[in-house]
Amino acid sequence: MTAVIETGGLGKRYRRLWALADCTLSVPAGHVVGLVGPNGAGKTTLLGLATGMLAPTAGTIEVLGGRPGAGPAQLARVGYLAQDAPVYAGLPVAAHLKLGAHLNPGWDAALARARIKRLGLDPGQKAGKLSGGQRAQLALTLAVAKRPELLILDEPVASLDPLARREFLQYLMESVGDQGLSVVLSSHLVADLERVCDYLIVLVGSRVQVAGPVEELLATHHLLSGPRRDPGSLPDGMRVISASHTDVQSTLLVRTSGPVLDPAWMVSEVGLEDLVLAYMSQAAGRGRRSHLEVQR
């Protein structure tokens, strides 16, 4: 399968701060990709590089095989929904649809109209008067109706109430099923992404910590608990992501491709949220240069 986003050593620097560093990804097509990480980790930067709104300081990036933002043809293939779903507050809903029709050669007017009708939006209402959820739905309609191959969403549900969040994700999944879209959406909450994503990228401290299909990640990460042990004494194929110790017990979250054979360990599955948290704390620990603390 071809990659929708292909990066090599991608980096972006603002003055002296690297907002994104050393990012090498090959995101396959046909997936809903979750980009998760704490605020300020570089998610918006990575998405901005993918849409061509930012230019790299280092490394390369290719989206759908082309340079991001390079001309109308490339722009037509990628849809984007910015944080907080900006819309023209003074223009009514119908004017937004007309905007889409005028500015996009691939615009599907029937799809857009049908969607607005199903959402129950009044075409004459000014977009500034819509609720947060309605604005997000309008922005999503605009992005989807231009029939892109890839849809990029920056924290689309962060400020929505639970019902609006559910409805937004429902519409998104319907469009994915309908049009065979690839989607990349970012969030700082794993719970938002769990149901819909089948590929995960964890971004912490401006660096990619782990990336891969969710199924594979869940199958290769395990929680091991057993007698107190030095993490360095584990076999080579096993990589410790996070560890905590008491005086008698060690609990380790490890990544390994093979089975865990040591009978001393009690092995249990890891949920996606715990997996992401482990990578976040690992990166934070590295950043603070702190060592493992013994818990009593």
Binding site: L169, Q170, M173, G177, R195, V196
Partner: protein, 131 residues
Amino acid sequence: MIEFHLDGRSGVAPYMQLIHQVRQSLRLGLLREGDQLPKVKDVAAGLAINPNTVLKAYRELEYEGLAAARPGIGTFVTGTLGGGASLAAHGPLRRDLQRWLAKARRAGLDEESIEALFVSTFRSAGEEEIA
């Protein structure tokens, strides 16, 4: 057409839950051979889950011989799970179970104890069968 639901906190993977629900519906007679399963797009939109998850469940059912995909039309039920015979046995088994429950309550067991007793016996019986 059946409708799916998801329990986010059950710890069971979504696609497994879908498979279970199809099998359950087959057992209860809600689904019969030749019925169409809900469209992948509709399930994904209804539950707000990834269409690939639904596809995975349907492919698994295909692999088990319970369903078959007809390209462009949908996925249809092709098999049964022991079908009529098991349905016929439900009546007497249900009555036996009701009698046993009455006995357990008379013995003074509360609901949690009854459930724990049943689950542990069920599990150990299952292990005996394997062995």
